[in-house]
């Protein structure tokens, strides 16, 4: 869709030109940092530490694409998503939406933008208010943004219900009367109500039964085609992300470690962490699965309160060397890769390299750090 990912954004604080708003990237995140303070104390709360949830992430989301965000639980992908949709303010960094800088906007200032960016949540049970009728839940966006009179909303809501494959006659039912997959359709309908340009889906299928997952993924794809939606799709499951994404960003401990087109990433993963994730992902073909070498990562994910120095993956990386402890590798295109394939690694994995055979060359005590 979009051709250029680096020069699309308008100047910070400047209203976008008609041209840049129409052709530039939909979302641009620059050096985004999000810390959560940990407070202690009785009367005067002092900051005892901070969780480094997102640290220095730069990303663009192009119009009409699906950008996958993958990583283990706690890697900061959900926090990043909530920063993009302005549910959390950024600690530092810049956020552009349709070319406009919305980083510092207050809650009321950000309201008009909310119409154009919506979220689908992970838990189809937790994200629907159990005490409200489905019709009123789906009609919420209309009510909040003052769209249409009360009696005009019902046909609109029923259209939406139909669109996502729900029986519009169930308008007056409660969420408890629906199955998990149906509830997620309700969440999709609600996100779709105001015809947004961006939908951030935070693990939309991971709470669902596998057989239902495909239905919801197909629905999301159909809707994308239909309305030209842009998705940021978050999952811990690479195989799900691969299925829907045009490009994939792999996150580890609050940073993007590799970013590439979906096929490129799966065909030529360069970061050791991506390799490890791919080797752990489920493979449908049993022959292939048997033939594959599994890369087993040692150790636990370090605490995001005190992340490791240098490359954050070094304590668990099979290729780690001295430099990895000292310097954070930049996220750039590595030699031999296309410009769109970015990797943050000092020693990217060469195609065909067997990671199970290499050993790290940093002393043990530093790994334990």
């Amino acid at each position: 869709m979009s051709t250029d990912s680096t020069s699309g954004g308008a100047e910070v604080g400047q209203p976008p030109t008609a041209e840049s708003a129409a052709t530039g990237p939909l979302v641009e995140v620059r050096e985004a940092v999000k810390y959560f303070p940990i407070r202690q104390g009785i009367v005067f709360k002092r900051e005892a530490g901070r969780v480094h949830a997102v640290e220095g992430v730069s990303l663009t989301v192009r119009r009409g694409e699906t950008l996958g965000l993958v990583g283990e639980t706690g890697c900061g992908k959900s926090t990043l998503a909530r920063c993009i949709t302005k549910l959390h303010p950024l600690t530092s960094g810049t956020l552009l939406f349709e070319g406009q800088d919305i980083t510092g906007l207050s809650r009321s200032q950000v309201r008009p933008f909310r119409r154009r960016m919506q979220m689908i949540f992970q838990d189809p049970y937790g994200s629907l208010n159990p005490r409200r009728r489905v019709g009123s839940i789906i009609g919420d966006p209309f009510a909040i943004h003052g769209e249409g009179a009360r009696d005009e909303r019902k046909p609109k809501v029923q259209e939406l219900m139909e669109l996502v494959g729900l029986n519009p006659e169930h308008y007056n039912r409660f969420p408890a009367e629906f199955s998990g997959g149906q509830r997620q359709r309700i969440g999709v309908a609600r996100a779709l109500a105001l015809k947004p340009s961006l939908i951030v889906a935070d693990e939309p299928v991971s709470a669902l039964d596998v057989s239902i997952q495909a239905q919801i993924l197909n629905l999301l794809e159909d809707l994308q085609r239909e309305f030209g939606l842009t998705y940021v799709f978050i999952s811990h499951d690479l195989s799900v992300v691969r299925h829907v994404s045009d490009r994939i960003a792999v996150m580890y401990l609050g940073q993007v470690v590799e970013l590439a087109g979906s096929e490129e990433l799966h065909g030529r993963p360069r970061h050791p962490y991506t390799n490890a994730l791919l080797s752990a992902a489920s493979v449908a073909d049993p022959d292939q699965a048997a033939a594959r070498q599994r890369i087993v990562l040692t150790g636990d994910v370090p605490s995001p309160i005190a992340p490791p120095t240098g490359c954050r993956f070094h304590p668990r990386c099979p290729k780690a060397q001295e430099i990895c402890v000292e310097q954070t590798p930049p996220l750039v295109a590595r030699a031999g890769d296309p410009d769109s394939h970015l990797t943050a690694c000092h020693f990217p994995v060469a195609p065909g390299e067997d990671l199970t055979r290499v050993t790290a060359t940093i002393p043990e005590e530093e790994r334990a750090e």
Partner: protein
């Protein structure tokens, strides 16, 4: 229902999607919800309240209590009418046969069904009028307390941080007041009246409601649907009242029914101590207080107002217990195993 039941299960959006127009979406599989349902009449869905009502209806003790309360309300509303029909007003002194020759109350008879009090007034009529005060004070002060408690608890729990700290301290303070003593002090300053009784009782009851609501709000605030509402652009006021409040209703309703009998007893106690509604207006509390000097010779004098008071509070407690059971089946019942 404007939509026709979708036959065959597959949605047909073409005729109803002018805004989001497009060819029919090819869904991988029609979801279960879109499957045709022959009995479209049942499609409304039963609300949690309907389900709770069905549950309460099966609870015999709660239903008898409800009937008693409704009957009492009816009687108290029609007290003037009944008094007219019986022939005595609540302050009428029966000067001919209201007292014995020794000046003592007269027992139940055809003339005075429940006997007379120390001034020769009809106890039945006075008990009827007393129910007006008890129900009015009980219900109004409870509603005031609940409204105040919900508001403060909601704000404290929803906003958290400094707002919560201050409001929680205030609630702790009110709860640590020696309330009857303070009520007495308040009455001593402002004089006793119906309005003061209502105010005093509400003032010492709201904090307990506030605490419960605050706790509930704290946990609801973390729910994903609150985040969803925020992501849609809802403001705090809307989230508090549209998204949080409906989830608080169950505990609030339970607490309301259990607070009413406490308020009724509170009022009766104030009246008993001579600090409630001003005599000669009858209340169950001041009738019992008056009867203290006569209980040895006129058992009916304390018995009937006492019985009315006990049955009323009992009925509210049993109803409240049934409502609690219906709205929160996990909570243990107070009175039944």
């Amino acid at each position: 229902m404007s939509a026709d039941p979708t036959p065959g299960g597959a949605p047909e959006p073409a005729d109803r999607t002018p805004a989001l127009d497009g060819a029919g979406l090819a869904l991988a599989e029609p979801p279960a919800a879109a499957a045709p349902r022959p009995g479209a009449a049942d499609i409304e869905g039963r609300s949690p309240w309907q389900l709770a009502w069905i549950h309460v209806r099966r609870d015999r003790a709660a239903m008898i209590s409800l009937a008693f309360i409704l009957l009492l309300a009816l009687l108290s509303v029609s007290a003037p009418l009944l008094a007219h029909w019986i022939g005595w007003s609540p302050t009428d002194q029966d000067r001919t046969q209201g007292l014995t020759v020794d000046g003592l109350p007269v027992g139940p008879s055809g003339r005075h069904l429940l006997g007379t009090d120390n001034l020769g007034r009809d106890i039945l009529v006075r008990v009827l009028y007393g129910s007006q005060v008890s129900l009015l004070v009980g219900v109004v002060s409870t509603l005031l307390a609940v409204a105040m408690g919900v508001l403060v608890g909601l704000v404290a729990g929803y906003f958290g941080s400094a707002v919560d700290t201050v409001l929680s301290r205030v609630m702790d303070l009110v709860l640590s007041f020696p309330f009857l003593l303070f009520a007495i002090a308040l009455v001593s300053i402002f004089g006793s009246s119906l309005a003061i009784s209502v105010f005093v009782i509400a003032f010492f009851s709201w904090a307990a409601v506030g605490r419960i609501v605050r706790g509930q709000t704290l946990s609801i605030r973390e729910k994903e649907y609150i985040e969803a509402a925020r992501s849609l652009g809802a403001n705090d006021l809307r989230i508090m009242f549209v998204d949080v409040l409906p989830n608080l209703l169950a505990p609030v309703i339970v607490y309301t029914t259990l607070l009413i009998p406490i308020a009724i007893v509170f009022e009766a106690t104030l009246s008993f101590l001579g600090l409630g509604v001003v005599p000669p207006s009858p209340t169950w509390g001041n009738m019992l207080s008056d009867s203290l000097d006569f209980y040895q010779v006129a058992w009916w004098f304390p018995l009937f107002p006492g019985l009315a008071l006990l049955l009323t509070t009992l009925a509210f407690n049993l109803l409240g217990d049934g409502v609690r059971d219906a709205l929160d089946p996990r909570a243990e019942r107070l009175f039944q195993d």
